[in-house]
Amino acid sequence: MALMRVTSPHAHGPLSTSAVMQQVLLATVPGVLVLTAFFGFGTLVNIAFAALLAVSFEALALKLRGRPPGFYLGDCSALVTAVLLGIALPPYSPWWLIAVGIAAAILMAKHLYGGLGYNPFNPAMVGYVVLLISFPVQMTSWAPPRGAGEVPGLLEALRACFTPGSFDAITMATPLDVLKQNDALLVRDLWAQSPQFGRWAGLGWEWANLAFLAGGLWLLYRRIFTWHAPVAMLAVIALMAALFYDGGSSASGGSPLFHLLSGATMFGAFFIVTDPVTSAVSVRGRLVYGALVGLLVYLIRVFGNYPDAVAFAVLIMNFAAPFIDQYTQPRTYGHAGTGDGK
């Protein structure tokens, strides 16, 4: 009789990479639905086309490196990158914009470093920043939300993507942009004058952010990531916004609630900052990492040139993450801690 000897630990982790990625994909659904409800089918077209390209690029890169494509494609990481980039891109983006972004994300940011698990920078954010620097006009023209303008249908969304020349995009400054450009009106008056604003933040944006928050909380409940980095990031954004709000003068930076529910705050906090590969690893490291992302997001949003800053802040902190890890190594059980954390 053969007895199998099993050594500890006996706990079994049911989560494979593929299962984690699929749950992340599932958690983006409410956010994507809200974006579609307010801004039309643009985001869905973005995601579909980006996913197609991402899987093809991933297969190409795996083939070039002589790896089994079936196994690596099965982990769904390329799909997650595609969905995240598709959400981050403005709806009704032309096809070449999506193609350049996905190529930068999958080929440059991921496979040049050896694929999933080795990439020091978040691939979706690299794709986004490459596009933002190279094509600022296309990247900062966002469609008006339902209630502030006409929302194109599915057919028009497809035309906007694949025959960009035949589609006259109606665009409108995002609420963050409006607030940044404002230097004469009190925040309350600006709110009353601009159709972009909703109850707490931007029209549509507030609900998209709440939906991403809901998806993120579900992932937290499923223990896909820990609370440290997102909570630190959101807390610092709220704190900075509270410090610089000054009751809403023309020079103020928007209320804490506005910043928490604007742009990519919640999307970034729960879907980008929590990336297990590119963020800091230890618990203290994640707190530092998240807090610094929040600080940079606020500083660049309010004082920098760009209306939103999650992508930049995340890339800058990706760059700092190995250093943070070096100095926040947890004490090993049975060993005395030393001053420098080694």
């Binding site: 440059m108 020091p120 920043v129 660049i300 920098g304």
Partner: protein, 192 residues
């Protein structure tokens, strides 16, 4: 006054970072970033040299070259000033920390040819900085250089064990990473 100097500092450290935005001082940035400890030693030595050289070259320009009408000699005289400061630093490091001296090895004299050092000295003249401004600008440039060098070194230690495709191993992936870091630093544009 205080605001002016903090703007000068933040500008030199982040917004116009000498390595990632102005692309000066790339040789030590690529050369000494393979190990975190060496990178830290190098950044401390460079910070010391850069701050001192920035101040000294400002004094040289205003009290030697300008009165004699020899402004056109500024490049060559700054190189001389920098060489003297580096030599001085080398002597201090050798006596005070033989270990650091051993670790830094060939790179210490190489600070002489770190173009960021000469760049800061010349930019000080271009921007008409006074003595105190030169001191702060040099210090800010050095802190910016040290910041990215140390972060880059920590990242390269991780890249060393990554499964990078053969043609991109070593310096190639280092350059690509530096490029992505430069992309990220463009986010600081307009901050001051």
């Amino acid at each position: 006054m205080l605001a002016d100097y903090s703007i000068l500092l933040i500008g030199a450290i982040l917004v116009n970072n000498f390595v990632l935005v102005q692309f000066l001082g790339l040789c030590p940035f690529m050369g000494v970033s393979n190990k975190l400890e060496t990178a830290m030693g190098m950044s401390m030595a460079t910070t010391f040299v850069l701050t001192l050289a920035s101040a000294c070259s400002n004094l040289t320009y205003h009290f030697l070259l300008l009165p004699l009408g020899l402004e056109y000699l500024k490049t060559i005289s700054f190189i001389l000033v920098i060489a003297v400061v580096v030599q001085f630093t080398e002597m201090v490091v050798r006596k005070s920390s033989p270990l650091l001296y051993q670790v830094l090895g060939v790179y210490l004299p190489l600070i002489t040819t770190n173009c960021a050092v000469l760049g800061v000295a010349l930019l000080n003249i271009n921007k008409e900085h006074n003595f105190l401004q030169s001191l702060f600008y040099g210090f800010g440039a050095a802190v910016g250089f040290s910041l990215v060098l140390v972060l880059f070194a920590a990242m390269r230690e991780r890249l060393a064990v990554a499964d990078v495709p053969v043609p991109f191993q070593g310096a190639a992936i280092g350059m690509i990473t530096a490029g992505m870091m430069a992309l990220a630093f463009m986010g600081f544009a307009g901050l001051v």
